[in-house]
Amino acid sequence: MNPFDYIRTTDTADAVAVLTERPDAVFLAGGTNLVDHLKLGVTEPGLVVDINGLDLTDIEVLDDSGLRIGAMVRNSDAAADMRVRRDYPMLSRALLSGASGQLRNAASMGGNLLQRTRCVYFQDTSTPCNKREPGSGCSAIGGYTRYHAILGASQDCVATHPSDMAVALAALDATVVVLGPHGERRIPVDELHRLPGEQPERDTILEHGELITALELPPPRAGRSTYRKIRDRASYAFALVSVAATVDVDDSGPKPVIREAAIALGGVAHKPWRARAAEAVLRGAEPNEKTFLQAADAELAAAEPLEGNRFKVQMARGAITTVLTELTGGPESKLDDTTEDAHE
């Protein structure tokens, strides 16, 4: 590990000011990703600004009956909060399907959003990687791509964003509150992360020195929701494909009609992938298998799988239709969050 200076601050404005002055400084929150990167040499900051003492640990109900979750709330505490469990079960399940009990106790909400890809080449400093070292090339293209993108990738980068939580937040239309050198701004979660394009080194639209202070969830939605994750082992593994979905069905007429639907996919792109093409097919349609397959196909028409992840297109199609079937299957249907076997 390269040497670095260390300071700890308890003031958010101070944290932002320090980073703004030092281009070589980074924030340290839960550390579950950053400390690993310090060891691997993926990141070599001159200064680590420890923000674990910031007073950003409250979860409070907003005036519009939404929920504001402080950026330094730990993933385990957010998942266990009764308001999250009751009103945003999809978020609770997404949090609980990520990492392990120990890691969730350390990981912060802000840090979870800003964790970096687990692409093996990004984490291996002996191989070229445009995200780690712009212009050096992409080792994944033509290499090991089981965990890589099928949507929205570029010639320069095919990495995926690893967060489960962010996928649920994208489907929930959550907002990220950010404090920067020029004051506060609010960013829809769906707009926080970027597609790689020609600048894969930039994961998000945040500027150096900007600090996530909170997440804001809109008021709870009508209808049912869940988070389904498919991975290579039953627990403690990143998603091959995941689906966060909420569906609200109008049962008052002669035939049921989907009033509203929101879907986001994980494990398939450089960012949580909001499935707006699928949503457009679902809105106003009758909830049945034909509709669900049409919705999935509308979204996946743009898929450009790689040699090692062609299976993901079919897997995503199956995951979307299965989740929608379960969510519209009436009050008796039980949601099964256990993971499915994933085979190529």
Binding site: T32, D36, A234, D337
Partner: protein, 170 residues
Amino acid sequence: MDHPLNLTVDGQEHTLAVDPRTTLLDALRDRLGVMSPKKGCDHGQCGACTVLVDGRRLNSCLALALSHDAAAVTTSDGLATDGELSPLHRAFLEQDAFQCGYCTPGQVCSAAGMLQEAADDAPSVVTEDLEAPVDLTDEEIRERMSGNLCRCGAYVNIVAAVSQAAEESR
């Protein structure tokens, strides 16, 4: 430059100075000679380094020691009182929940933290009803202990040991 660090480890207070790069695990083992937590992968993937920090289970290999200045750290050793094994330790012995034993202190600390989480009714991803009290079935124990690998493959007996400890603490 070294920074001052205060840690209470298994009830004993320590004051030392560490380089910022020092992880909590390295501070415990290399600086304080506390050998109960183990270095397995050193990347947060195996759980052998698990300790309780202010009562919560953490991977000590992924924490900078300075982030935990003034914290109370409990290792598996510290769960014993006056040389008497805890019920959780005894359950691991009685259920034959290890072979080589390298992962065991991490397993024990993880189980201790996990049993408290379950007692606080924190759900897991396999909990069917997120709002209901937690019933620690074997499926729940397996999911909640998934951050601790055992290369000897003693998992079946680890589940039995944790289940026994959960029963006894009821």
